[in-house]
Point group: C2
Chain length 241, copies 2
């Protein structure tokens, strides 16, 4: 069966998932593109449906097939590849970390957030706590994570709840006023905190920090891109031992 109508209920559901409100209501999100969907399936994520154009039948025989124009209507990409998956948003509850972890405080740009998840997976920071961040399950953030989101655990909560889950864990804040990160030897187990693009780390989290570290910069530079500084800090702390 080929779906050719945009008013088909499945198509309407898939379309709605570009919107955070509907992702929250339904507990699922979208993964788009051949490579991403394949990696999502291989990673063991709970894939509910794959929707494809017919040319992808050899790779995704179990998919629901739609016409090109219906696919265009659900795609979030400028140049749709013809494959999209509906995937369950995992719920890990909110618990203390088992290893080194990341705390993201009010990160607002979906591209930055996705890039941070990509780097966190690469660097082995697989438990990521989020306070007031942009939704990591938006199509833009998922795309920027380049499948990294399938391999990390995301924890959500109010600032109080998150800080309470991190009780007893040293929190290292990346901040302009900190000590040089390249001379800093972190404690055995720690949480690295990255703040908002413009405003940095919130006062409440700062107050809970046990260390603050900075990436040294020439005086002609005011700040680094949030995803770049997160990457530099994650790798520096990992390798400063």
């Amino acid at each position: 069966m080929l779906i050719t109508s945009k008013s088909n209920p499945l198509i309407k559901t898939v379309s709605s998932l570009a919107d955070k409100k509907f992702r929250r209501k339904t507990g699922v999100y979208l993964v788009e593109g051949v490579k991403s969907v394949k990696e999502c399936i291989a990673s063991g994520c709970d894939v509910r449906t794959v929707v494809c154009t017919e040319d992808h039948a050899p790779s995704f025989p179990e998919a629901t097939f739609v016409s090109d124009s219906v696919f265009s209507s659900i795609s979030c990409e400028k140049t749709p590849q013809g494959v999209i998956a509906v995937v369950k948003i995992p719920d890990y509850g909110l618990k203390p970390p088992s290893g080194n972890c990341l705390l993201l405080d009010c990160l607002q740009d979906p591209g930055n957030l996705g890039t941070v998840l990509r780097t966190a997976n690469a660097a082995g920071y697989t438990e990521i706590y989020m306070i007031n961040c942009t939704d990591p399950y938006s199509p833009k953030a998922v795309r920027a994570s380049m499948s990294g989101i399938f391999f990390v655990k995301l924890y959500f909560g109010t600032r109080e709840a998150v800080l309470s889950a991190l009780d007893g864990v040293p929190i290292i804040c990346a901040d302009m006023e900190g000590e040089n990160i390249f001379g800093f030897v972190p404690p055995d187990k720690f949480c690295l905190c990255i703040g908002n693009e413009g405003g940095g780390i919130s006062a409440e989290v700062m107050e809970r920090s046990t260390h603050t570290v900075k990436i040294p910069m020439r005086e002609t530079c005011e700040s680094l891109n949030a995803a770049v500084s997160a990457g530099i800090a994650m790798y520096a702390l990992k390798n400063n031992k």
Copy 2:
């Protein structure tokens, strides 16, 4: 005098500068936004004209003033602030580096390129050689550089000419097959090379490399964002001494 017509010759020139062909022909580029234009002027760049809406007269008294609708027609931003400058593209010729430098080989995304310039300025890699890259003077790249482009020297040339300017300088290529960058002690003076987003470093540059280094990653991750890996590599090499 207030310019209210989009067919004014200055306005037509400014509009044309979003296009690489006209930047190359005229040797100037655009800098947009209050902060960026102020930093551009303060950095000593050769600012040819500032075009503003009238509300910016207190900050830019020497500017040429235009109506809001004319400004919208020349702006490259989604939410125009009402200030744009026409700035001369500096020509540093093509000469050997005086300190540690960067070689960008076929970097294609303007956002990545601008972010690399921002980080390079921060980390003190102020001489940057480019082979077949996207134009760093495009509005998108300039914006992503967050004023970093005003503080670094950009060198352009064919692959042969650039490699010849780097004659005798150790070239460290960032590549998946290299040795772990975090155990690597670089030579006293070096050139760090970053390759294309998808394809990596070209065979011709690889052949000239004296060292290859990699950023270690978990096996679930295939690659890092180009701007993030450039940032990690720049700071790692700088601090591994």
